[in-house]
């Protein structure tokens, strides 16, 4: 399982760096892994994919803060048989349909519009900054005392047609109403 080993090696290097302090893992390296992990805890509607060979797309809007970390993380990975690909969108107009859309703080000004445009078509929006306006990303990374925390807006997720695993909700701050199922 070379992918797993590679993945583990990456994480190990990351944690080793964190423990050493000097080479503490970059915040984005952690976030890149988190993005990948979201594919496990979020259920996308079936219409989000054209067919079985339609790639699972992680899009990055704005300046790519991850560097090679995201590419390293998703290399060789699949989600329910769909190959994982990373697409970078320079501006709001470049945004193509994708399953996860990370909105960098550099593109936060356009974020509200972009979020609005994808809020109903099964795109999990993620950002590490607050988005001004009525719209917000579904999951936001919070950096609390050098530890990354999640804040999840379940209302937006429901709007987007996504089902977020309760497991993901438990360690996260939850905004909105969790339906009483």
């Amino acid at each position: 399982m070379p992918k797993f080993v590679r993945h583990a090696g990456l994480l190990f290097a990351l944690l080793l760096a964190t423990a050493a302090g000097a080479t503490a893992p970059d915040e984005y390296q952690v976030e890149a892994v988190f993005l990948l992990h979201f594919t496990q805890f979020v259920e996308w509607p079936a219409q989000a994919f054209g067919d079985a060979h339609t790639p699972f797309v992680i899009g990055v809007l704005g300046r790519d803060p991850f560097g090679s970390a995201l590419d390293d993380a998703v290399r060789g990975e699949t989600v329910n048989g769909h190959p994982l690909v990373v697409k970078r969108f320079a501006g709001a107009a470049d945004v193509a349909p994708c399953q996860i859309l990370f909105i960098d703080r550099s593109a936060v000004s356009d974020a509200n519009r972009v979020i609005d445009s994808v809020s109903h078509n099964g795109t999990l929006t993620v950002s590490d900054v607050a988005v001004p306006g009525p719209q917000d990303v579904i999951i936001r990374f919070l950096n609390e005392d050098r530890r990354i925390r999640l804040r999840i807006n379940v209302d937006f997720a429901r709007t987007a047609g996504l089902t977020i695993s309760s497991k993901l909700l438990r360690p996260a701050q939850v905004i909105g109403t969790i339906p009483a199922q």
């Binding site: 797993f4 993945h7 583990a8 994480l11 190990f12 944690l15 080793l16 952690v30 988190f34 992990h37 496990q40 805890f41 530890r147 990354i148 925390r149 999640l150 695993s165 497991k167 993901l168 438990r170 360690p171 996260a172």
Partner: protein, 816 residues
């Protein structure tokens, strides 16, 4: 029966068996359950841990994925639900520990790092460790370490052990009480049987029986036991009967061993049988093979009454079927269990007198039937086969014993005969030796007195001028010489052997009596007188002729013996009476009888002695007597067809009476009564070795006018005769002595006859009478004369022979 105390009782063994069986079964069951439960519980524990771990792992994926250790810690806290989970920890994919449970646990209680590989469960000594992967979807998030102590298992095992202990105790108790109760159904009857066997062996009562208990095998055992008891009981009864028979047989055998004759054996057998067997009737009958009849010989004492009613007293003949006799001869026992159904007369009689069953056992020895044993009982079929077998065996024993007794008595008889003939032979040998001595003595005496006799006779005859006194003296001398000669002659008679054939002569018994008395005078007169005992002798002799035809010597011997016995019977003295009488016959056809009685007044004889006194070798005189005296008398009496009668009273005396037939015809005068013969002168050759005899005889013959030539010795005589025979004056007659050295009278006679067959030869002998009576006249001898020769006899002989000689000469060729 002794009980081995080391061997446990069947009761205890049964209980032990039940307890052991139930305990083993219980133990096996419990062990299986225990093992099953242990394994199951381990699996359950593992599965529970797995389930719980997987649940926790599933819930901790997000915490791991998003690096939230607080949340992980919270999730791990859920392990609190199971108090046996002691430690738990979450490790990230890189092996770094991420969160621990309990939160305050020391870091050393967990593995420092845990690699992603090597998941699963491992049982330790006291714990169960599980390593579980934490995955979300298909993505591995980390690893969960869970450790659970096995206290639950051990708690459970302890609980189980307690329960098992209780169950085992309870079931053991239950099994004990149940088996204790149930074993009695098996051990009870067995113990009862054992006790019964024990009791039987001590009491020897085989009539008891065990009762069934209602269990098949035990009932079989009981039946077999009872059957065995029955067999033993009947065997014992049989044994008892046989023992009784054996005892009886031994008793009878022992008793008949003491009996020596068939009669007493038979008496013992029938008496013992009727008492001990018992029998109502028992008898023994003798079988006579020559006529084929059975005769009752012995009847049991208790059977006498029956015997009279049945007409089967001793001496009665028994009429039996021939087939019955034939069977008996073959040695077959005849058993008639019911006398009423057989038509034989004997059986009909028995049946009529209430004797229902009968056994006839043959007495067979050496294949010869000599009698039968008849046994009868009142009831029908009263004789068992054992009884019959016993009677058969007994009869064989009795037959053997009887045969033995018979042989024994025959042997005794043969032995007695042998002893008797041995003693007779010895006696005869003694007599023969005595006779030879006496014969020699007689010869010498006769020779010695011959000159005395011749001279005395010659003097008396030819000297008419003798004084009266001298004549008297010579007469006395002549009679004395005659007595001496008579005594010597009788002595010879006394010892000489018996002739095979009697030579009877006419004997006057009165004379014989006198002779016997004279001969025995020493015994009845001289010897008693030396001891101061007086024996008076009375003779009462008949005045009528008492002549009988007897062998004179034997007659005299008999009288002598009787006189000796009479003297011996009077050790204190007494009277000896000898009487003769003549009894005329009642009818003319019968001869007159002459009686001689010899009576004494001595000790007499009792009846037994009277009965036996004639037996040879029977004596009351101890060593002094030969036991042959009366036997000889009896033998003589028998040979002469005479009678012997004996009257005797103990203390009063005995009288022997001999009865002869009187001799018929006239009384013959003695030979010496012949008239004197005128002697004819003859030329005589006198041959003797005794000069005295030659001298006296020569002188006497010369006195008669004969021409006498004397030759001293046999050879001289022959020479003289031969010398003279060729001359003109041959010897007309030869007188020669018999006993001479070198050439005896027989050879002289032979030589004379050889020379001249017609010359008569007169033989003079001291043994003369014996020669004549024994028919031993030697050849060539014409006349035998005894010494001392009496002139009368000599002259008569010379006269006879001289007269016949010329006649013989006229008839040549006839010689004697």
């Amino acid at each position: 029966m002794t009980m081995n105390t080391k061997v446990p009782a069947i009761r205890r063994q049964l209980i032990q068996m039940v307890l052991l069986t139930s305990g083993a079964v219980l133990l096996l069951t419990v062990t299986c359950l225990f093992a099953y439960d242990f394994l199951t519980f381990r699996q359950t524990s593992q599965r529970q841990l797995d389930t719980l771990g997987r649940a926790i792992a599933a819930n901790s994926t997000a915490a791991l994925a998003f690096n939230n250790s607080d949340d992980a810690q919270t999730v791990l806290a859920a392990f609190e639900v199971d108090p046996h989970i002691t430690h738990a920890a979450l490790y990230r994919l890189d092996g770094v520990r991420f969160a621990v449970y309990p939160s305050n646990a020391a870091a050393g209680e967990f593995p420092a790092q845990l690699k992603a590989d090597g998941t699963g469960f491992r049982f330790g000594r006291s714990d169960l460790v599980g390593i579980l992967p934490v995955t979300e979807g298909q993505r591995r998030m980390g690893t969960l370490f869970v450790q659970s102590d096995l206290g639950a298992i051990y708690d459970r095992m302890r609980l189980y052990a307690g329960i098992v202990g209780l169950v085992v105790c309870a079931s053991g108790l239950l099994a004990y009480f149940l088996s204790r109760r149930l074993q009695q159904r098996i051990s009870g009857p067995i113990l009862a049987l054992a006790e019964m066997a024990n009791a039987i062996s001590t009491r020897h009562d085989y009539s008891v029986r065990a009762s069934n208990v209602g269990a098949f095998e035990l009932d079989q055992l009981t039946d077999a036991f009872n059957h065995m008891l029955g067999t033993i009981q009947s065997s014992e009864a049989r044994l008892h009967v046989q023992l009784g028979h054996l005892n009886l047989l031994q008793h009878i055998t022992h008793a008949i061993g003491d009996s020596q004759d068939l009669a007493s054996i038979a008496q013992v057998v029938v008496t013992t049988l009727e008492r001990s067997m018992p029998l109502q009737y028992a008898c023994i009958a003798r079988y006579d093979a020559t006529v084929g009849t059975l005769t009752v010989s012995t009847v049991g004492a208790a059977s006498q009454a029956h015997s009279e009613r049945l007409a089967l007293q001793p001496g009665t003949a028994i009429v039996l079927d021939d087939s019955v006799i034939a069977a008996c001869v073959k040695g077959q026992l005849i058993h008639e269990p019911d006398t009423r159904r057989v038509a034989l007369p004997l059986l009909q009689r028995l049946a009529a007198h209430d004797l229902g069953s009968l056994v006839i056992a043959p007495l067979v020895a050496e294949r010869t039937l000599f009698g039968v044993l008849i046994a009868a009982r009142g009831e029908v079929g009263a004789f068992t086969s054992a009884d019959c077998e016993f009677l058969k065996q007994l009869s064989e024993h009795v037959a053997l014993a009887a045969r033995q007794a018979e042989l024994n008595s025959a042997l005794q008889l043969a032995y007695d005969d042998l002893r008797r003939s041995q003693q007779t032979t010895m006696q005869q040998e003694r007599l023969r030796a005595l006779g030879q001595i006496a014969s020699g003595i007689a010869h010498d005496i006769n020779n010695a007195i011959s000159p005395v006799s011749l001279y005395t006779e010659s003097l008396l005859e030819r000297e008419p001028n003798l004084s009266e006194r001298a004549r008297n003296y010579l007469t006395t001398i002549q009679r004395a010489i005659g007595d001496v000669a008579g005594t010597v002659a009788r002595m010879r008679e006394f010892y000489r052997q018996r002739e095979p054939q009697l030579s009877l002569s006419r004997v006057d018994l009165n004379v014989t009596v006198q002779q016997a008395l004279q001969l025995t005078q020493a015994r009845w007169s001289d010897m008693p007188q030396q001891k101061g005992i007086m024996i008076e002798v009375r003779t009462d002799l008949a005045q009528v002729p008492t002549e009988v035809m007897v062998a004179e010597g034997e007659m005299r011997d008999a009288l002598t013996n009787l006189i000796f016995n009479a003297v011996d019977a009077m050790p204190e003295g007494g009277t000896l009476t000898i009487r003769t009488r003549r009894v005329e016959p009642s009818s003319a056809d019968e001869p007159a009888r002459i009686y001689i009685e010899i009576g004494d007044t001595g000790i007499g004889m009792d009846e037994a002695t009277q009965r036996r006194c004639l037996e040879p070798f029977f004596t009351t005189k101890g060593e002094r007597g030969s036991g042959l005296g009366l036997a000889m008398v009896y033998g003589m009496i028998t040979r002469h067809s005479a009678e012997l009668q004996l009257d005797s009273t103990p203390g009063r005396g005995s009288t022997f009476r001999l009865i002869f037939n009187a001799a018929g015809g006239l009384t013959v005068e003695p030979a010496f009564a012949t008239p004197a013969i005128e002697p004819q002168p003859l030329r005589i050759l006198l041959v003797d070795d005794d000069p005295l005899l030659i001298a006296s005889l020569q002188e006497v013959l010369l006195g008669d006018g004969h021409d006498v030539t004397a030759a001293n010795g046999g050879q001289a005589g022959i020479d003289a005769f031969v010398a003279a025979s060729g001359t003109a004056q041959p010897f007309a007659i030869v007188v020669t002595d018999l006993g001479m050295p070198y050439v005896d009278g027989r050879r002289v006679a032979a030589a004379v006859k050889a020379a001249c067959a017609t010359t008569p030869v007169i033989l003079l002998t001291g043994w003369g009478q014996r020669l004549v009576s024994e028919g031993d006249i030697p050849p060539h001898v014409d006349r035998v004369l005894n010494k001392p020769p009496r002139l009368v006899d000599l002259r008569a002989a010379l006269n006879d022979l001289a007269v016949t000689a010329p006649l013989k000469r006229a008839q040549p060729g006839r010689s004697r």
